[in-house]
């Protein structure tokens, strides 16, 4: 296979990839006399359109993606991204609206935003939504800032946020960014929040509990109402990380579980593509007590029309980004919700849970399952059996690549050592599930019989196993002309 060079390595004076129409006004010279200017951006490449197209077409083919195959990356809900979403979001009028146009030029866009807020409220059972956060983590930050503002308003923002040890890394990070100290709650042997531990740790210093439900083990926190009760009883609030909403949609609603704040990941549950790392969208839903604190601007219905309120209340946490959210991502999510309708949405959770349990059932003899509680949309195996043969979860992951599949999540939950978090989603065919199961079974056998083949995997990819340590120890973070490679 031809190795694709960096674009800078094929640059050459005189090549052009694009031309602007000629300037149609008289040229004025010396416009920037007093300002330091430059003749050109040093190092910028010069290539032809042909070369651009080949560069990116070839590079694209070195990517694995949902459009190519099974992508059971746990917690990421890598479901199929419907193409109609893309088509709708590409409509001229959506793509071309400047965010600062007078309101009558954006009534359609505002209607999209407002409708999405309303539908997400219904889906989650919350009272109101803000669509501004650009991703889940920003949603967490907003959610925690809302809680902080609310508590501050009551006189004391408090100091501590409780987070289960199974939580995603953004939870503690966002809590910290909101000015809180994080205290970890232990999971019990069922893999859920230890209610006693919680009760013990809950105090009037605690601002909130951040809980994920179903949690990152795929287990439903069945004591959620009790948990919420404990938190509320001490004046704290319950934040729910809604990244796993795919397991619940249409079946139960966080709002009905006494949750006060939730963020969703539209790029997970609501099928907007992940783009190799974004853009996403992390709307935050709240109970009405938190409404005065919502970030600005608010979208409000005024009679027939819609309106942006930039100064709703002094209590607002303020602005958390430019403009109004990742609008085109929201358009895609709304397209998805409307395409599915009520039954379709509830079927999402059903089949997601079915697929995950089918995999679990088929692999639970081959891979260790630390917790035997029932799981919903995902389950977390570990490499415990394979480790005996020197095979770690990362090796299993790399070996899966040779079978043409994307590996599961390994970086968390931290409570499962050598985790392999498998989330198939609802869009997969039985054939894909069976191929995954077969590959995992083969790898389990290989681990015993031929562990080397796993530890040296992947064998067939565009690059083989990459030296991540070297990358971190001797960081090369950009191309420079001196390099020869």
């Amino acid at each position: 296979m031809i190795r694709e060079p960096l674009i800078f390595e094929i640059s050459g004076e005189g090549k052009r990839g694009f031309r602007l129409p000629p300037l149609d006004i008289p040229v004025t010279i010396n416009l920037l006399n007093e300002v330091p200017t430059r003749e050109k951006v040093d190092g910028f490449p010069q290539v032809s359109e042909t070369e651009i197209v080949r560069h990116f077409t070839r590079l694209s083919q070195t990517n694995y993606c949902v459009d190519i195959g099974f992508y059971p990356l746990g917690s990421c809900t890598m479901k199929y991204n419907p193409k109609i979403n893309e088509k709708v979001a590409a409509m001229d009028s959506f793509v071309r609206t400047h965010p600062s146009v007078p309101l009558k030029f954006s009534q359609g866009n505002l209607e999209i935003l407002k409708t999405t807020e309303e539908l997400l409220s219904e889906i989650t059972g919350m009272d109101a939504f803000t669509l501004q956060p650009a991703a889940g983590a920003q949603g967490e930050l907003v959610g925690m800032l809302l809680i902080r503002a609310y508590l501050e308003d009551l006189g004391n923002p408090r100091k501590i946020v409780l987070i289960p040890d199974s939580a995603h890394g953004t939870n503690p990070s966002s809590a910290h960014l909101s000015g809180y100290t994080v205290q970890e709650i232990k999971s019990n042997e069922r893999g859920t929040v230890d209610v006693n531990d919680l009760a013990r740790m809950m105090s009037e210093d605690v601002a909130a509990l951040m809980i994920t439900n179903p949690n990152t083990l795929g287990i439903f926190e069945d004591e959620i109402k009790k948990i919420a009760g404990i938190v509320h009883s001490k004046g704290g609030l319950v934040y729910m990380d809604g990244a796993n909403m795919n397991a619940l949609v249409g079946h139960c609603r966080p709002g009905d579980m006494d949750v006060d704040v939730i963020h969703l990941n539209l790029h997970k549950t609501f099928s907007t593509p992940h783009g190799g790392g974004g853009p996403g969208s992390g709307p935050v839903g709240i109970k009405s007590i938190l409404e005065p604190y919502l970030p600005v601007p608010l979208i409000e219905r005024h009679g027939e029309g819609l309106h942006l309120n930039f100064n709703p209340s002094k209590k607002t946490i303020g602005r958390i980004r430019g403009f109004y959210g990742n609008f085109l991502v929201i358009v895609k999510a709304l397209t998805y919700i409307l395409s599915l309708g009520p039954q379709g949405l509830s079927e999402v959770a059903e089949i997601a849970v079915l697929n995950a349990n089918y995999i679990r059932k088929n692999l639970e003899k081959d891979y260790h399952l630390k917790y035997d509680s029932p799981t919903l949309h995902e389950c977390v195996f570990s490499d415990k059996f394979q480790k005996e043969h020197g095979v770690l979860n990362i090796d299993i992951a790399k070996r899966l690549i040779d079978f043409g599949m994307h590996p599961p999540t390994m970086s968390f939950p931290l409570i499962v050592h050598g985790a392999l978090m498998v989330e198939p989603t609802e869009t997969e065919s039985k054939r894909d599930l069976d191929m995954f199961i077969a590959a995992m079974k083969t790898i389990a056998i290989e681990a015993k019989e031929n562990p080397e083949v796993i530890k040296s995997a992947p064998h067939g990819s565009y690059v083989r196993r990459l030296d991540e340590t070297k990358a971190a120890r001797q960081p090369v973070l950009k191309w420079t002309p001196e390099r020869t490679d």
Binding site: N63, V353, N355
Partner: protein, 447 residues
């Protein structure tokens, strides 16, 4: 429409394999009292034809066709080469997750590495990350970073920084109880250097300013940075219109320590405000405090070059509450578009783009400033935006022009009460001479 891929038979076989008779059983772990025993009150299902009709109807409510707009103020209308749309919509770019498995993500990773290189070339700094949410949150991250680096309570923020960026900084740092001091502007529209000097001291972590700033005026990065460096505060430049960097000297060369901003101008459509593209770069000694994903070069076991996410010990999934930022999903696909945009334009094309913006904005500035009653509010150097003051109330001006199908610019008085009847007008390469002349003609008539 549903996107399920199981046949009736598959379903049966799977239930049997699991040993249950109904999917409902799988939900037994959800207590009955919180189960939703009704359908969601959501419209649909809509078929493709219906959903397209639904959104076409909404699109028509936007009424935005045929309007001649001179809006900028943080979101810019620029040409987008056809290859950018064509290539960036490939499923291989659109549908993967963050490249946690580098062996099957080289397309995303190499592109991000090229993006980082381009940003370093543009900003004149050593390192860049793979993207942030947008310019506003990027500015906030820069303040947080500067504060982590310097640990001093004072942050000086130019009043000429985009008001949304200022507000976002405030939200992000609110609980750190920093002393955010706003520094006003002078008659050039630039930061008031005297005031800046007066406010700078050993307690200052950073000065944050935008160039070209919200009024379009080009700041003296060199002077500002010198002032900051005198107290080893960090000179933090925000670039909201990075097309300017095709002609203006790299801020890093002029002394900026951190450069952050909004790269929507690079091949990202206006999109009613998002998704856009935050970027950040800084000096290499700050790397341990740098937020966001970073891609680095390495080799595989056979010695082949490859790219990986690196230095992740700064990040939330490793460092949790001690991470340099909570960011996880960023704006990768927007960064991909920006990379394609810049590489397609290339050195020559990008220079030409900047030059045309400069020329056209100055042409417009010249035309408008000759109109009786209209005056230029500031006398600073500009790139592609400038502020006009009108002889009538702004609302009146705006609505008369709207009737002529012109959106003349961004009115300032809401956010800058001191700038009554003023607006920022943006002119880019997308405006034809006739567009500018039409604006001038209409204004001549009504003022």
């Amino acid at each position: 429409m549903s996107y399920i891929s199981l046949s009736d038979n598959d379903l049966k076989e799977m239930l049997t394999a699991i040993g249950i008779t109904s999917i409902k059983e799988l939900f037994n772990s959800i207590p009955a009292d919180i189960k939703l025993n009704r359908d969601l009150n959501v419209p649909g299902p809509l078929t493709e034809v219906e959903v397209v009709a639904y959104f076409e109807n909404l699109a028509n409510k936007n009424l935005s066709l045929d309007v001649l707009s001179f809006l900028g103020a943080g979101a810019y209308s620029h040409v987008i080469p056809s290859v950018v749309d064509y290539l960036s919509q490939r499923g291989e770019f659109v549908s993967p997750y963050t490249p946690y498995q580098p062996e099957i993500s080289q397309g995303t990773l190499q592109t991000a590495f090229e993006f980082q290189t381009l940003i370093c070339q543009l900003t004149g700094l050593d390192i860049a990350n793979a993207s942030l949410y947008d310019g506003a949150s990027g500015a906030a991250e820069a303040v947080l970073m500067a504060h982590r680096l310097r640990r001093r309570p004072k942050i000086l923020v130019a009043r000429s920084l985009h008001p949304q960026y200022r507000e976002t900084i405030r939200t992000y740092v609110n609980n750190l109880h920093l002393n955010i001091i706003e520094i006003g502007y002078d008659e050039s529209g630039c930061i008031d250097l005297e005031k800046l000097k007066g406010s700078m001291d050993e307690e200052t972590s950073a000065v944050v300013f935008q160039s070209p700033n919200f009024f379009g005026s080009i700041e003296d990065i060199q002077k500002i940075s010198e002032m900051a460096h005198q107290y080893s505060a960090l000179s933090t430049a925000v670039i909201a219109e990075p097309v300017s960097l095709g002609i203006l000297e790299a801020p890093g060369i002029l002394g900026a320590d951190i450069v952050t901003g909004e790269a929507q101008s690079f091949g990202i459509p206006l999109s009613f405000g998002g998704p856009y593209l935050g970027f950040m770069s800084c000096r290499k000694e700050f790397i341990r405090q740098f937020p966001g994903r970073i891609v680095g070069e390495t080799h595989d076991v056979e010695g082949k070059r490859g790219y990986v996410l690196t230095l992740s010990t700064r990040e939330q999934h490793i460092r949790r509450e001690r991470a340099t930022s909570n960011i996880c999903t960023n704006q990768a696909l927007c960064a991909l578009r920006a990379t394609m945009f810049l590489e397609t334009l290339g050195q020559e094309g990008f220079r030409e783009l900047a030059w045309q913006n400069l020329q056209k904005a100055h042409y417009a500035k010249g035309q408008l400033s000759q109109i009786k009653g209209i005056s230029l509010k500031f006398n600073g150097n500009i790139f592609n935006e400038f502020v006009c003051e009108f002889p009538k109330p702004w609302e009146e001006i705006e609505s008369i022009l709207l009737e002529k199908k012109i959106i003349i610019g961004y009115g300032l008085e809401n956010e800058f009460p001191e700038l009554k009847n003023c607006a920022v007008i943006c002119v880019t390469e997308t405006h034809k001479k006739e567009d500018i002349d039409k604006l001038a003609a209409v204004l001549k008539e009504i003022t």
